[in-house]
Symmetry: C2
Subunit: 356 residues, 2 copies
């Protein structure tokens, strides 16, 4: 594909060598990888993978924005700078959402006309992929932010997941357009009135509609989205755990569980969070993907491959074109549209120069 991905190997629970093993899988499938981390822990790497020795990590730092500012040598900063300088096309981080958000904002910077970057993630439920955003980059938002999230999420669904004209919905406490906070109602009116060549706006959906596949892309603020994502992870685990407990409670149940296990494998794969590779940080001038620190090499390889697919599909350009044709781009360069409590609001305003 001729795509190069910059990967921060710090932050993975299984260590930088596991990330390098994921990079080797992606490289074998044609993606060039530059991996940033402690060279001595990464060790020998596969063809197509270049190691940049960057042992210093801010992945576990309590104040990632401050750490990013004061630690230009940190692996995530070096990896992000590599993308900003055009030596790589996308950024993949092996954990640490805050540090990746900080590095992305400082080095790669916001795309032109974007108010706020947003974190998008496929929800861990069986069935077709459903993308939820924002899952935590912006705790408090304005309605025009939600509108942009809709376009960014739709572009991701089309470019990376191959969903043509995805169905986009707002998450609310009722399906009628009159239900929801003032914020949700205002965003719904704007989305219903706007141009929707790139997606179909299907209005409000409720919590139970997420698992029912009522929409391909679900838009919400970063507070609600973060609560919802973690809730889904927790409930899935609790239900699967409850069934596992039942399947070991009696000899008869144990036999039943053993017979059922092969059939459950496909189901378990469908809710495996490693398949999608992690959360996508949208709204920067290039894509960043944040994997879970607890992933194995499979998850890291997926993150790199999906980032490369986003580059090949020109996710950033597609997002910009859809926003431009709809009139949903930020109007004035100085308007960040920020209330001060969102995570992204801790970062300086973008200067809106350079690439879209």
């Amino acid at each position: 594909m001729g795509v190069t991905v910059a990967v921060d190997a710090n932050g993975a629970d299984l260590g930088p060598a596991e990330v390098a093993a994921g990079a080797a899988i992606a490289a074998a499938l044609g993606v060039s990888v530059r991996i940033f981390g402690p060279a001595e822990q990464i060790g020998e790497v596969a063809d197509g993978v270049v190691v940049v020795d960057a042992p210093f990590s801010i992945a576990k730092h309590a104040d990632p924005a401050r750490a990013a500012r004061s630690s230009p040598e940190a692996s995530i900063i070096q990896a992000a700078r590599c993308v900003a300088e055009g030596e790589a096309d996308a950024l993949v981080s092996a954990g640490a959402t805050g540090a990746t958000l900080a590095a992305g904002l400082f080095e790669i910077r916001r795309a032109r006309g974007i108010y706020r970057p947003a974190l998008a993630t496929p929800v861990p439920i069986p069935g077709s992929p459903v993308t939820l955003l924002d899952v935590g980059a912006n705790v408090e938002v304005r309605s025009e932010h939600l509108v942009q999230f809709a376009y960014m999420g739709a572009a991701l669904a089309t470019t990376v997941l191959g969903q043509q004209r995805p169905r986009v919905a707002l998450l609310s406490n009722g399906s009628e357009a009159s239900r929801g906070t003032a914020l949700v109602i205002e965003a719904g009116e704007a989305l219903a009135a706007g141009s929707q060549d790139s997606f179909e706006f299907v209005g409000n959906i409720e919590g139970n509609d997420i698992a029912a596949g009522a929409a391909d892309v679900i838009v919400t603020d970063g507070f609600t989205g973060n609560v919802a994502l973690k809730l889904m992870e927790g409930i899935s685990q609790a239900v699967v755990g409850g069934i596992r407990d039942a399947a070991t409670s009696t000899p008869r149940a144990k036999l039943g569980g053993a017979l059922l296990r092969p059939a459950l494998r496909e189901f378990r794969d469908s809710i495996d969070p490693e398949g999608p590779g992690g959360a996508y940080l949208l709204g920067l001038r290039q894509l960043a993907v944040v994997s879970h620190g607890r992933f194995t090499r499979y998850g890291f390889s997926q993150a790199i491959l999906l980032a490369a697919r986003a580059v090949s599909g020109d996710l950033v350009g597609q997002t910009y074109a859809a926003l431009e044709s709809s009139g949903a781009l930020r109007r004035k360069a100085g308007d960040q549209g920020a209330t001060p409590s969102g995570a992204a609001a801790n970062f300086p305003p973008d200067d809106s120069r350079g690439r879209p």
Copy 2:
């Protein structure tokens, strides 16, 4: 127990006779029931159950507040008035949250010092009961509302569920006190500083902590709570459905599923929404319980029995005492603390006379 419960039989999917069958179970256990609905559909009733013929229903009305105002003959209004006039001690509705909220606010009215009633519900996950509130009565709230919800939820957990000094948490996007919206952070500060004789405030919890049993009572705004509750219902169904599909996919899996079924019964019972009887409408001068319209007689009997238990335990008085000793009661009679978009804000301010 000498407790009388007023029951609206309209709104049940299985019809008023199913509600009457639930009332018969509760009556056999010593609760007096006055049941409001179409007498000819209710038919013969058990000892301890009195029928009040009230065929007119506003359970499915699109604008329940307006319907409640203009339909004094509606069964839910008559049942609520019966409670307000002291002929019954608590209200149970067989569905229709909006109509019950309207009838409760108009007839039973807010308890003294309460800003807003809130809907509390046990979450449908295995393990000890976890109470979540608000799940939809107030779409937008202020921090002092969240503080009151904490006291109301704790009083419910103690009085109805028998949890002594329950652990109370705020739902947020991070466990640190600094994480969350401005609203959540402010409520957390107030709860941490306030008197907590009646519960233990454990700070913020995240979505995945709900299923992990990190708190007994979880406080949030009605938007987030409604999304979370419906999400849990949807995810539980999707996971159980996915496992059921797997258990019918091959002959071997079918045999496994059949062997496993008895062991799964206890697990299924633990996530059965009928056990807790429905959602509790807290903050009125008497308790109201809103069952699901799709419940069977078992769920309706549970709703009546749990309402009676709340009366015996003096839930309303306990809530008032805890709020009074903590200083979290509304200060001025005229201060409704309302932004105009919450459901409860469509109702007139309470005059703060009469019983607590």
